[in-house]
């Protein structure tokens, strides 16, 4: 296979260059990961998990490896304007696949480690090395293995035990450059016992070149830790995003995760969550708004390894044009994981003739004292509701928009940061009106 060879050769040819200036943990994990990548091979339609998500066209583009920092015209902090009004967040930037330090120092509570993954792995190996790649190395996903083999930098957030970070943190990941770029992105988030934080990660693309993002995020929640994690994608049709998120939750930890895709090309989100100890809770939700040829494929596996945990998945899709939505959700209740409560729901709205939806909601249960359920529904806009609104003088277009907006509403309501919620609501409205070609108020997008 040509693409497979391209990536293998890329790694082999630049193995020594990748070693330069890489942290010990980063470089140490490469060879095993590469061997796994070669053994697994690039995912194709024959791979059950990727049957509706053909990455090959995107992978066949020759991106090369961004080995040296590509100059950018100005610091992202100076041109970036799409932060959330009335919500003062701490902003961090990853441009392509490199972390850009802020010009002004950022103040966070004592002991919190943040910033460049590569640099911080060198500076704090004692607290970070044991977490880096601990979950990803167990994965059977070839793209995750490729990421580990090639990653050069990323973002890290480490919050020591008992520390509460009050102010929301926002990581802006952007693509910049007029040539086709592949970015190998990495995120490491560790919340030790009793810590809490809110993290917003948003993806942007600054020009219309072909971009490929291969991201791996590892999230560790210690005992009683609490994380609100929001992911947002506002890119364009030529962007391919593959994201593998691995989450490990200790006893009584609490996770709220919300993934909102406003504009994208081809997006593949894998989420693998493991409940390691009892009493943990996770609320995972996602909303994908798709048009034209866009594709969004969310694959979520919630692994109830320990009993007494509570998981809730809610994923919604709104599709028009020839867009395709794919949802693969699995609840796995391991033997002995009694008193598990696992709910999963998936609702999809196809608003055009060519839109396609593929859903695979699955339950795999090996314990008896559980309450597990899933539901999946696909349909179109309710004619009665539409008629009701038309009767009251709304134009058909407006009525349809309202109904789509309402459909998306309950995912937006799960955002507990009120200013962010209002902002997302506004963006969704614009998106349905077709006005969202770029992030509002941002000057650097074309």
């Amino acid at each position: 296979m040509k693409a497979q060879e391209t990536y293998s050769n890329l790694f082999k040819n630049y193995r020594e260059v990748l070693r330069l200036s890489a942290a010990r943990a980063l470089d140490g994990a490469r060879d095993t990961a590469f061997a796994r990548f070669e053994a697994l091979g690039l995912p194709t339609g024959k791979n059950e998990d990727y049957r509706y998500c053909d990455l090959l066209p995107a992978l066949e583009v020759d991106y090369g490896l961004n080995l040296f920092r590509m100059g950018i015209p100005a610091h992202p902090g100076e041109v970036f304007r799409c932060d959330v009004p009335t919500l003062s967040t701490r902003l961090f930037f990853v441009v392509n696949d490199l972390y850009y330090p802020n010009k002004k120092p950022i103040e966070l509570p004592e002991g919190v480690v943040f910033g460049s993954l590569n640099e911080q792995l060198k500076a704090h190996p004692e607290c970070l090395e044991r977490y880096y790649n601990a979950l990803c190395s167990q994965s059977q996903d070839a793209m995750a293995a490729l990421n580990t083999a090639m990653v050069q930098d990323g973002f890290v957030l480490y919050i020591p035990a008992g520390v509460q970070v009050e102010q929301p943190l926002q990581l802006v990941q952007m693509f910049q450059g007029d040539i086709d770029i592949m970015a190998t992105r990495r995120l490491l988030v560790v919340l030790e016992e009793g810590a809490s934080a809110q993290l917003i990660v948003c993806d942007h693309a600054m020009s219309t070149a072909k971009y490929f993002s291969n991201q791996v995020s590892e999230i560790f929640l210690g005992k009683g830790a609490r994380l609100e994690y929001y992911e947002m994608e506002m890119t364009h049709d030529k962007v391919t995003r593959v994201s593998n998120t691995y989450i490990s939750q200790a006893a009584d930890s609490d996770l709220l995760m919300n993934n909102i895709g406003l504009e994208n090309g081809l997006t593949r989100n894998n989420v693998e969550l493991i409940f390691q100890e009892a009493g943990a809770k996770a609320d995972l939700s996602g909303l994908s708004l798709l048009s034209r040829q866009q594709l969004s494929d969310n694959h979520v596996v919630v692994n109830h390894k320990a009993g007494g945990c509570n998981s809730n998945q809610t994923f919604k899709y709104v599709m028009d044009g020839a867009a395709r939505g794919v949802f693969g959700g699995k609840v796995l209740v391991q033997p002995g994981a009694q008193q598990t409560v696992a709910l999963q729901s998936n609702a999809n709205l196809c608003t055009s003739k060519e839109a396609r939806m593929h859903a695979m909601p699955q339950l795999e249960i090996y314990a008896d004292d559980v309450t597990c359920s899933h539901g999946s529904a696909t349909g179109q806009i309710d004619e009665n509701a539409l008629f009701y609104m038309r009767q009251r003088g709304l134009s058909e277009e407006e009525a349809r928009m309202f109904l789509k907006f309402a459909f998306a509403g309950d995912i937006v309501e799960r955002i507990s940061l009120k200013p962010l919620q209002a902002r997302v609501r506004m963006l969704i409205g614009k998106r349905f009106r077709g006005e969202l070609s770029k992030c509002a108020e941002c000057n650097i997008c074309p």
Partner: protein, 484 residues
């Protein structure tokens, strides 16, 4: 450790005897073990088949040789040695020349199974016409003549090949082609006997038609084939039952059922599958790998699959509906019970091709002991299927902490006018319901029986009367009181 009353009940249930495990002592004509082109030719020759059918078998066999055993199901299938199986076994009747006479031993066997082969008083016996198949041959088909008066053809498929070659040739392999899957290819190569049903235009079949499958000979596999064709405006209700003797060694059963339904016709197909499930340590039992599919070809055609799956060591079975005709309807009702070391991966496919097509799926899984029970289903709405409707409901009940219940639905929507809903729940028996019953003086065992029967009622209600009673009894036998 002191055993709780619940555990006692589970043990009682798991030690429940398989009622149909006897062996009929009858001389059987078998061919040598193994599978090769010669064997395929031999089977064809034994059945005095025409050239085209032999060609069909050989094509399938050659194709099968290129395939590998499928591994996608949530099953742990021990390796099957296809060379260690006898592919043809026929009970020898004393008077081979006189086909009308049936060996009394066979009659006794089927009587013991509750299947009368003599055409006694129709009213007394529920008016069911039976095609009885033992190992590789059809022993007897009852009420053939009465049915023939209405133009209905009900006979063994071997006979149909001889008597109605055009019909068989037209429809055989048209719904499940030999390239469909591994076990279908195998069946096409070596299929032995089964039933053929043709209901002519405008005829409502006045009685239930039924095929009873019995495996008797040792080391054999049963590869039966059923073909049902319902012409315009006709109706038939068809039942299928199956049992096998208790044996240590697992036996393979790979069948194909094809149904073609024409305009405004309706076929109701009910199965009570009670193959020998193996003993409580998971030894022996039937491997039941079945391809069943219905083509709703005509406008407003309808098919309804109802299955009660209690037997077999391993079940791999997905009765499917291809809804090709506009406004055609497909239904699937299933209760699958697994106990001890049984494994089941069963469900359905609803392929919507025509406009205004509707399908309903109701699947109830009950797992106990160390068994694994999976529902696997596909609902596909093609881009041509405007206004398709589907509702699926898959519930699982778990009894005991060592079993598993799984749900693997696939939903493919290629048309925005489709309305597709899927819901599934997994839980154990509701403690409150149990308590309520116990408060009223009903023993735990009986209460669980009640609850399970209530849980499965939606499906059992779809069965024809005679079968519903049998199925209810079966459920009670295998699960009453099995609360974990």
């Amino acid at each position: 450790m002191e055993k709780s009353p619940d555990q006692h009940i589970i043990e009682e249930v798991t030690s429940g005897e398989y009622k149909h495990g006897f062996v009929t002592d009858i001389e059987t004509e078998v061919i040598p073990r193994g599978l090769s082109e010669e064997v395929v030719r031999l089977i064809s020759a034994k059945k005095e088949e025409p050239e085209w059918l032999l060609e069909f078998r050989l094509k399938a066999f050659r194709y099968w040789q290129t395939l590998e055993t499928p591994t996608w199901a949530h099953l742990n299938i021990p390796e099957i040695d296809y060379q260690d199986i006898i592919y043809y076994a026929a009970p020898k009747t004393e008077s081979d020349e006189n086909q009308e006479e049936i060996d009394p031993e066979l009659l006794k066997t089927f009587d013991k199974l509750g299947i009368p082969l003599e055409e006694r008083d129709r009213l007394l016996h529920g008016g069911t016409a039976v095609d009885a198949v033992m190992d590789s041959v059809s022993v007897k088909t009852t009420y053939k003549e009465n049915l023939a008066e209405l133009g209905i053809i009900f006979c063994s498929i071997s006979e149909a090949v001889k008597e109605h070659p055009d019909l068989v040739r037209q429809y055989l392999g048209s719904v499940v082609p030999y390239r469909d899957n591994y076990f279908a290819a195998l069946n096409c190569a070596v299929f032995s006997d089964g039933s053929f049903v043709y209901i002519p235009k405008g005829v409502r079949c006045p009685m239930e038609l039924s095929t009873y499958f019995r495996i008797n000979a040792v080391n054999t596999g049963q590869f039966e084939r059923t073909l049902i064709v319902a012409d315009d405006d006709s109706y038939v209700s068809y039942l299928e039952g199956c049992t096998a003797p208790i044996r240590d060694k697992s036996q393979l059963h790979a069948a194909i059922v094809e149904i073609v339904v024409n305009e405004r016709a309706e076929v109701k197909y009910s199965t009570v599958q009670n193959w020998y499930p193996g003993d409580k340590n998971g030894k022996g039992g039937i491997y039941n790998f079945v391809s069943k599919r219905c083509l709703c070809k005509g406008y407003r055609s309808k098919v309804s699959w109802t299955q009660v799956e209690t037997g077999s060591a391993i079940t791999w079975k997905y009765p499917s509906c291809v809804l090709q005709g506009d406004e055609s309807v497909g239904e699937f009702y299933s209760v699958a019970v697994t106990n001890n070391h049984q494994q089941a991966d069963t469900g359905t496919k609803m392929i919507h091709l025509g406009r205004n097509t509707k399908s309903t799926i109701v699947s109830k899984g009950i797992s106990a002991g160390k068994s694994q029970n999976s529902y696997r289903g596909l609902v596909r709405v093609a881009s041509s299927a405007d206004n398709a409707r589907n509702h699926s409901q898959c519930d699982s009940l778990l009894m005991g902490d060592a079993c598993g219940a799984h749900t693997f639905p696939y939903i493919d929507i290629n048309n925005n006018t489709a309305m597709v809903e899927h819901e599934a729940t997994t839980s154990k028996i509701n403690e409150e319901q149990l308590f309520y019953c116990q408060q009223r003086g009903i023993s735990t065992e009986e209460a669980v029986g009640l609850i399970v029967n209530g849980y499965a009622k939606e499906v059992l209600n779809k069965l024809p009367m005679e079968f519903a009673v049998e199925a209810q009894k079966l459920l009670s036998v295998s699960l009453e009181g099995s609360v974990g």
